[in-house]
C-alpha cells in the first residue's frame, strides 16, 4: 500500500525553511525498507502485541476460555460417537439401551456448549481485535502528532500512510490469527490425547504420517516465502503506479501519456499476476500431498491395521469410526495453520514496521515539568541561537534578535538564507541547537508547547485546507469560537464576501484540499483561520504569494488590520511590503547581517541595498515594471 497519498508532498516543499534550499540529498529515510520480510515469528513483536491486550484483559481471558471450551467440545464429539456406538448400540437389548439415551443426552449438552463457546469465541475475539486495532490506530496517530516537521520532511507521506493503515490492519488480523492458531494447536493436542487414551497402538500407527507432513511443510515454506515476497513487491509497484497516475492525471492527459502509461501499468500488473499464479501453484501443490497422507492414515492406519485389530476382537468398531473422524479433523487445523504462514510472516513484518515508527523519538518534546504559558504579550528574543539539522551544516548561526510586543518585523534574504527556519523555530517546529529563544522571557523549552503555540499563529506559503465546510475550516481547532467569531475573522481578512457568494455560504463543503476554490480564496480562508483565535504573535511565511492580483489587493488591505496590535514576523520578497515594517532583519547564509528601518538600511548600502537594487535591476532589464511584476501595493497606511 505504499504510495497511498503520494503526490501530496507539495506541502513539504512549501516549507523551505526545513530544507537547505533547492534540492535535498535523496530520501534520508529513518524508516526501514517496506519490502523487508522477517521471520514468521518475532518474539518482540508478539510480546508487544500482547501488551496491547492489557486494557482488555478480561475480554482476552474470556475469549481464551471460550476457545478452550470450544476446542475441547470439538475434539470430544468423535468421543461421543464412540461412546454411543460402543456402549449404546453394541450392548444389545432394546430395554437395556439406556446408555444410548444417556450418550444422546450428553451429546446434546455438548452440542449446546459447543455452540455457546463458538459464539462467544467470535464475539470476544472481535471485541478484543477491534479494541486492539483502535488502540494501535489512535496511539500511532497520537505519536505522529508528536513527530516534528523535519521527520515529515524526510519521510514520504505514503510510507507513513501505509504503516498506519495497512500495517495496523494487518496487526489486528494477527491477533485474530493468534487466537485461531491457538485454537488449532489446542484442537491438535486434544485430538492426540483422545486418540492415545482410546487406543494408543492405533493412534501411533495413524499418526505416524504426521512427521512426514511437517517435513513436507517445512520444505514447502521456503518456496512459499519467496513467492510471497514477490507478490508483495509486485502489488506495491501496482498501487504506487495507480496512485501516481491518479494524482498526476492532469499532466498525463495534457501530455498524451495514456497509452504509454497503460503499457507500463500492464507490465507491472502482469508481474503481479505471475507472482500470484506462482504462489497458487505452490500452495495448491500441497493439496495432493496432504490428501495422500490422509489416505494413508485412513486407509492403512484405520481400515487396515484397525481392521485387523477389530477382526481379532481387540477393538470395537466404534473406535474405527471415531478415529476416522479424528483423522479428518486432525488435518484441518494443520492445513489451516500452514495456510496462515503468509499471514504470520506479513504480520510480523507489519509489527516490526509499526513498532519501529512508534519507537521513533519525537525531536521536540515537552519537558516533564513544563509550565503552562501565561497570556502572551508578544516579546520575542533570540539569544545566540544556532541551529542545524545535520551536524556541521549550520542553518542559523549566532542569531540575536529582539522583537518588542506589537512590533512588525520583516525578514529578508535570498533563498536558503534561513528565513523560514528562523520563524518556524518560534513555533518550536524544532529546538535550537545552541542558545535560546524566549517569549516574554520564557524559554520556549520550559513551557508546554500547546499552551504557547495556541496563542500564536502562522500562515504558510501554500494554503492548506481540511475537508469539511468553510466554517469548520476557519474555526479549526478553536472550539470556543462562535459562528460570529468566524464571520468576524472572515470579514477582517476580506473573505466574507466571496464566502457568501459560494453556493451555501459558510456551509459550503470544500473538496479535497479545497480545489474547488482558487489558491487566493484558499489563502484568504487560511488567513481567517490564523486570526480567529486572536493570536498575539503572527508569522506570515510568504503568505501573500501564490495569489492573483485581485485577491492580493484584498489581502493587503486586510493585512494591516490583522497585524495591528500583534507581534508579527513576515517573510516576503516584496520590498514594497517590507518598507513599512518597524524593523527589517536581513539574513544571509544563516546570519543576521543587518537590522533596521528601510531608509536606514538603504543608506547603509549593504546587503539590503544590494538586494533592493537587484530587484529594481531585474525590472529594468525586462523593460517592464520594477519588481519583476511583483506589483504589490504597500499596506494601506503607507499610501
Amino acid at each position: 500500500m505504499r504510495g497511498m497519498g503520494g503526490g501530496f508532498g507539495g506541502m513539504m516543499g512549501g516549507m523551505r525553511g526545513l530544507q537547505s534550499g533547492g534540492i535535498n540529498s535523496p530520501t534520508m529515510d529513518s524508516l526501514s525498507d517496506e519490502n523487508a520480510l522477517g521471520a514468521v515469528y518475532n518474539n518482540r513483536v508478539v510480546l508487544r502485541l500482547i501488551s496491547y491486550m492489557g486494557p482488555y484483559r478480561s475480554d482476552v481471558i474470556k475469549s481464551l476460555i471460550a476457545v478452550l471450551i470450544y476446542t475441547l467440545a470439538n475434539a470430544s464429539i468423535p468421543m461421543l460417537i464412540l461412546l454411543g456406538v460402543n456402549n449404546g448400540i453394541s450392548s444389545g437389548n432394546f430395554w437395556s439401551m439406556h446408555p444410548l439415551h444417556l450418550v444422546g443426552a450428553a451429546f446434546l449438552a455438548v452440542t449446546l456448549v459447543h455452540f455457546a463457546s463458538n459464539y462467544l469465541q467470535f464475539v470476544f475475539m472481535a471485541r478484543v481485535g477491534q479494541s486492539i486495532l483502535y488502540s494501535l490506530r489512535t496511539q500511532m496517530f497520537s505519536h505522529l502528532q508528536d513527530m516534528s516537521p523535519s521527520f515529515y520532511h524526510r519521510t514520504a507521506t505514503g510510507r507513513i500512510m501505509s504503516r498506519s493503515q495497512s500495517d495496523v490492519l494487518q496487526l489486528q488480523e494477527t491477533f485474530e490469527m493468534l487466537v485461531l492458531a491457538l485454537a488449532d494447536v489446542l484442537t491438535l493436542a486434544f485430538i492426540i490425547i483422545f486418540m492415545l487414551v482410546v487406543d494408543w497402538q492405533l493412534a501411533l500407527v495413524s499418526l505416524s504420517i504426521v512427521p512426514v507432513l511437517f517435513f513436507i511443510l517445512a520444505y514447502w515454506q521456503r518456496f512459499a516465502r519467496r513467492s510471497f515476497m514477490r507478490i508483495r513487491r509486485a502489488i506495491a509497484m501496482v498501487n504506487g503506479e495507480y496512485n501516481q497516475n491518479i494524482t498526476g492525471v492532469r499532466v498525463v492527459q495534457s501530455l498524451n501519456r495514456q497509452e504509454e502509461n497503460l503499457r507500463h501499468f500492464e507490465e507491472l500488473n502482469h508481474e503481479h499476476l505471475d507472482a500470484n499464479l506462482q504462489a497458487s501453484r505452490f500452495s495448491g501443490g500441497l493439496q495432493p500431498m496432504v490428501e495422500f497422507l490422509i489416505g494413508i492414515g485412513m486407509g492403512f492406519g484405520v481400515v487396515f491395521v484397525g481392521g485387523l485389530l477389530a477382526k481379532n476382537g481387540n477393538l470395537e468398531w466404534g473406535v474405527l469410526l471415531a478415529f476416522a473422524v479424528w483423522i479428518q479433523r486432525f488435518f484441518e487445523p494443520i492445513r489451516h495453520l500452514t495456510m496462515q504462514y503468509g499471514v504470520f510472516q506479513r504480520s510480523m513484518a507489519a509489527g516490526v514496521r509499526i513498532f519501529e515508527l512508534m519507537d521513533l523519538k519525537p525531536e521536540v518534546n515537552d519537558k516533564a515539568d513544563a509550565i503552562e504559558m501565561p497570556p502572551v504579550r508578544g516579546e520575542v528574543r533570540f539569544e545566540d541561537v544556532n541551529f542545524h539539522y545535520v551536524e556541521g551544516v549550520e542553518v542559523l548561526q549566532d542569531v540575536n534578535l529582539h522583537i518588542r510586543p506589537g512590533e512588525n518585523v520583516a525578514l529578508v534574504g535570498s533563498t536558503g538564507a534561513g528565513k523560514s527556519t528562523l520563524v518556524t523555530l518560534i513555533h518550536r517546529f524544532a529546538d535550537v541547537t545552541n542558545g535560546k529563544i524566549t517569549i516574554d522571557g520564557y524559554d520556549l523549552r520550559d513551557v508546554r508547547r500547546e499552551s504557547l503555540v495556541s496563542q500564536m499563529s502562522m500562515v504558510l506559503q501554500e494554503p492548506y485546507l481540511f475537508s469539511g465546510n468553510v466554517r469548520d475550516n476557519i474555526r479549526y481547532c478553536y472550539d470556543d469560537a462562535t459562528d460570529e467569531d468566524v464571520i468576524d475573522a472572515a470579514k477582517a481578512v476580506g473573505a466574507h464576501d466571496f464566502i457568501m457568494a459560494l453556493e451555501e455560504g459558510y456551509d459550503t463543503i470544500l473538496a479535497e484540499r479545497g480545489v474547488n476554490l482558487s489558491v487566493g480564496q484558499r489563502q484568504l480562508i487560511s488567513f481567517a483561520r490564523a486570526i480567529v483565535g486572536d493570536p498575539r504573535i503572527i508569522v506570515l511565511d510568504e503568505a501573500t504569494a501564490n495569489i492573483d492580483t485581485h485577491t492580493e489587493i484584498l489581502i493587503q488591505e486586510a493585512l494591516s488590520h490583522v497585524l495591528e496590535g500583534r507581534t508579527s514576523i513576515v517573510i516576503a520578497h516584496r520590498l514594497s511590503t517590507i518598507r513599512s515594517a518597524d524593523k527589517i532583519v536581513v539574513l544571509d547564509r544563516g546570519r543576521i547581517v543587518e537590522v533596521g528601518r528601510h531608509e536606514d538600511l538603504l543608506r547603509q548600502g549593504g546587503v539590503y541595498a544590494r538586494l533592493y537594487a537587484i530587484n529594481y535591476g531585474l525590472a529594468h532589464d525586462n523593460g517592464a515594471e520594477p519588481g519583476g511584476g511583483q506589483l504589490i501595493p504597500a499596506p494601506a497606511d503607507n499610501d
Binding site: 437389548n93 520590498l575 503607507n638
Partner: protein, 606 residues
C-alpha cells in the same frame, strides 16, 4: 444481481479455465464421496449382526474377513484420496488463476478509465477513494470470483450430492438430520442483506478515517503551527471509535452466522448417533451405514462453514462491484467523436465563438465568450478568482467541453479531432505542478517517450533549468517525486515548462503562479517564459503585470464574461477595470523606483 452478472461476464471471458475449474471440482467431489462409502463398506465387512439387537442379537467380528480384502479396501481408500487431492489442486489452481486474471483485467480497466476520464470527474473524486476502489474493491471482486463463482456452486453440488446419498441410505435418518438445512439457508439469506449494508457502512467510515489521517499528515505543518495536535487526536479518535463499533457489529454478525452453522452440524451428528443407534438396534441400519452417515455429514462441514464466507463474498462483491462499475461506467463529458480526425500540426489560430461553460446546470462559469487569438500572439487573461480564467484555458485542450458555442483551431471545431492529436498541439503548464516518481530526465521527457538526450537538455536550457540540474550530484538522473528529492517551487515550475517545451506545441497555455519565489528565481522563470512563448500562440493567466503589458491582447474577465479587451495602451486609455488594477499596483512601484535612485549607483544593471 446485475452487478454479479457483469462480474461473471468478465470471468466468462476465461471460460476455458472456468470450465476446467468446474470439471475438476466435480471430479474432486466424486472421489471425495467415494471415501465414506468405502469406509462404511469396510465397517460392514468387519462387523456383522447376529439376529436383531432389539431381540437380544449381538454384533460380532466377521469371521470370513481376510486381510487381503482389508488391504484392497485400504488401497481403494488411498487411491480415492490421491485422485481427490489431484483434482483439488487442479480446482484450486484454475480458480485462483481465474480470479487473478479477472482482477488483472479490472485493474487495467480502472487504470485506463481513470487516466482518460475528464477533469470534471477527478475534481469530484478523492484520491483515497479512487485508490481504495483500485485496491480493496478489486480484491473483493477477486474473492467473489474465487469463492462466489466457483466455490458456491461446489457447495451447492456437494450438498445436493451428499443429501441424495444420505436419503438413499436411509431416508428417515436423512430427513431427521437434514431437516434444518432449509431454515439454515433462509437464515443465511437474511444475513446476506444485512451484512452487505453493514459492510458498505464500514467501508464508508474507514474512508473517512483515512481522509482524516491523510489530511493530517499532508497538513502537518498547519497542525504544528496551530498547536492543534490534541484537536486532531480527538477528531481521529472519534472516527476510529466509530469504525471500531461498526467493524465489531459486522464481525459479530458474521460470527453469529458461523456459530449457527456449526451448531446445526453438531446437532445433526448428535441426532445421527442417537436416532441412528436406535435404527441399528431395530435392525434398520447397518453399522457401516451409520459410519457413512457420520463421515458424509463431516463432508458437509467445510461447505457449510465456507458458505458463511461465500455469503460474505457475495455481499462484498455487490458493494465493491457497484463502486467499481461506478468508475467504469462514468461517462466522460469529454468524448471523442467516432469519426474524429487527426489534427496535424496547427498553425495556431484559436477562436472562441460564443463559448459558454457550466460546471453544473445551476450556474454558468463562462458566458458567451468570444476570443480571437492569431498565430504566434500572446493573450493575457486577467480577472478575479472564480471569474473563469482557468476555465477558458482548460477548454482549449478539451479538459472540459463547452456547453454552448464552440472553440476552433485554424477554423475547425476542436471536437472534430482526436483528443490525442489536439493535445499534442496544445501545451499547458499547470498551476499545480506534479512531478512523477522518476528521474528529472524522465520527467522532462514525460510527453515524448523517444526524446533524445540533446532534445531534453535543450528543453531544460530553454526553461532555464539546465545549470541547476547540472549542479545536482546526479544531474539529469536525480530522482524526484514522492520517493525522491524535493525540488523548490521555482524548479518545479521550470521543469514543467521544460516538459512542455519538449513537446513543442504550436499553442501554449501558461497558468502562471510563480510569485512564491525569490527575485533571482523570478527572473529565471520570466526568462523561461519569454523563451518558450516565442512563435507560439500563447494564453497566459497572468498574475504579473510585466507579462500582461507585453501581451498582444489582454482580456479582463468578470463573472465569466469578458468585460474589457485590448492591449495595454488601449485599456489604459479606457479607464476601466484594467486601469484600476494597474493604478492600484503601479503607484507603489514608482515609489520603489524613486527610492532606488536615492540608493545610488550599483542598482542599474547587474
Amino acid at each position: 444481481m446485475n452487478i454479479l452478472m457483469r462480474i461473471t461476464r468478465m470471468a466468462y471471458y476465461y471460460r476455458k479455465r472456468l470450465i476446467l475449474a468446474y470439471f475438476s471440482f466435480f471430479a474432486a467431489i466424486g472421489f471425495s464421496l467415494l471415501i465414506p462409502w468405502l469406509f462404511g463398506k469396510s465397517i460392514d465387512q468387519l462387523v456383522v449382526i447376529e439376529g436383531v439387537l432389539e431381540e437380544g442379537g449381538r454384533l460380532i467380528p466377521n469371521p470370513d474377513l481376510t486381510w487381503q480384502a482389508l488391504f484392497v479396501l485400504a488401497s481403494m481408500l488411498l487411491g480415492a484420496s490421491l485422485f481427490r487431492g489431484f483434482f483439488d489442486f487442479a480446482r484450486t489452481y484454475t480458480t485462483d488463476s481465474l480470479s487473478q486474471l479477472v482482477s488483472y483485467d479490472f485493474r487495467n480497466q480502472i487504470y485506463d478509465k481513470l487516466q482518460n476520464v475528464s477533469f470534471a470527474y477527478h475534481d469530484k473524486e478523492h484520491t483515497g477513494n479512487l485508490m481504495s476502489k483500485a485496491t480493496a474493491d478489486v480484491e473483493a471482486i477477486r474473492r467473489f470470483v474465487n469463492m462466489g463463482l466457483v466455490r458456491s456452486l461446489e457447495v451447492v453440488v456437494r450438498t445436493i450430492a451428499v443429501t441424495s446419498i444420505l436419503i438413499w441410505i436411509n431416508w428417515e435418518l436423512a430427513l431427521i438430520s437434514l431437516i434444518f438445512v432449509p431454515f439454515l439457508i433462509l437464515r443465511s439469506t437474511l444475513v446476506i442483506g444485512k451484512l452487505r449494508r453493514m459492510w458498505l457502512h464500514v467501508q464508508e467510515v474507514n474512508g473517512e478515517l483515512v481522509t482524516v489521517l491523510q489530511e493530517n499528515l499532508v497538513g502537518i505543518h498547519v497542525v504544528k503551527a496551530f498547536g492543534s495536535e490534541n484537536f486532531e487526536r480527538r477528531k481521529y479518535e472519534k472516527k476510529a471509535q466509530e469504525l471500531r463499533e461498526e467493524y465489531y457489529q459486522s464481525e459479530r454478525l458474521q460470527g453469529t452466522n458461523s456459530a449457527w452453522m456449526s451448531l446445526y452440524f453438531t446437532f445433526a451428528l448428535c441426532l445421527i448417533v442417537w436416532y441412528g443407534g436406535w435404527e441399528i438396534i431395530r435392525g434398520d441400519l447397518t453399522p457401516g451405514q451409520l459410519a457413512q452417515f457420520v463421515l458424509y455429514l463431516n463432508q458437509l462441514t467445510f461447505p457449510i462453514r465456507a458458505s458463511a464466507q461465500i455469503i460474505n463474498s457475495f455481499s462484498r462483491a455487490i458493494s465493491s462491484g457497484r463502486r467499481i462499475f461506478d468508475v467504469l461506467d462514468s461517462s466522460s463529458p469529454v468524448e471523442e467523436k467516432p469519426d474524429a480526425r487527426v489534427m496535424s500540426r496547427a498553425e495556431g489560430h484559436v477562436r472562441f465563438e460564443k463559448a459558454s461553460f457550466a460546471y453544473d446546470a445551476r450556474s454558468a462559469t463562462l458566458q458567451k465568450v468570444d476570443i480571437v487569438a492569431p498565430p504566434g500572439k500572446v493573450t493575457a487573461i486577467l480577472g478575479a478568482p472564480g471569474s473563469g480564467k482557468s476555465t477558458i484555458v482548460n477548454l482549449i485542450p478539451r479538459f472540459y467541453d463547452v456547453t454552448e458555442g464552440r472553440v476552433t483551431i485554424d477554423g475547425e471545431d476542436i471536437r472534430e479531432f482526436t483528443l490525442e492529436s489536439l493535445r499534442r498541439n496544445v501545451g499547458i503548464v499547470q498551476q499545480d505542478i506534479f512531478l512523477f516518481d522518476a528521474t528529472i530526465r524522465d520527467n522532462i521527457a514525460y510527453g515524448v517517450s523517444n526524446a533524445s538526450e540533446e532534445d531534453i537538455i535543450n528543453a531544460a536550457k530553454v526553461a532555464q533549468l539546465h545549470d541547476q540540474i547540472m549542479s545536482f550530484s546526479h544531474g539529469y538522473d536525480t530522482w524526484v517525486g514522492e520517493r525522491g528529492s524535493t525540488l523548490s517551487g521555482g524548479q518545479r515550475q521550470r521543469l514543467s515548462i521544460a516538459r512542455t517545451v519538449l513537446v513543442n506545441p504550436p499553442i501554449l497555455i501558461l497558468d502562471d503562479s510563480t510569485s512564491s519565489v525569490d527575485v533571482e528565481t523570478e527572473r529565471q522563470i520570466h526568462q523561461a517564459m519569454v523563451n518558450v512563448m516565442k512563435g507560439r500562440t500563447t494564453f497566459v493567466i497572468a498574475h504579473r503585470l510585466s507579462t500582461v503589458r507585453e501581451a498582444d491582447q489582454i482580456l479582463v474577465l468578470k463573472d465569466g464574461q469578458i468585460v474589457e479587451e485590448g492591449n495595454h495602451v488601449e485599456l489604459m486609455a479606457r479607464r476601466g477595470i484594467y486601469r484600476d488594477i494597474y493604478e492600484l499596483q503601479l503607484r507603489p512601484q514608482e515609489e520603489v523606483l524613486l527610492d532606488a535612485s536615492l540608493a545610488g549607483g550599483d542598482g542599474g544593471d547587474n
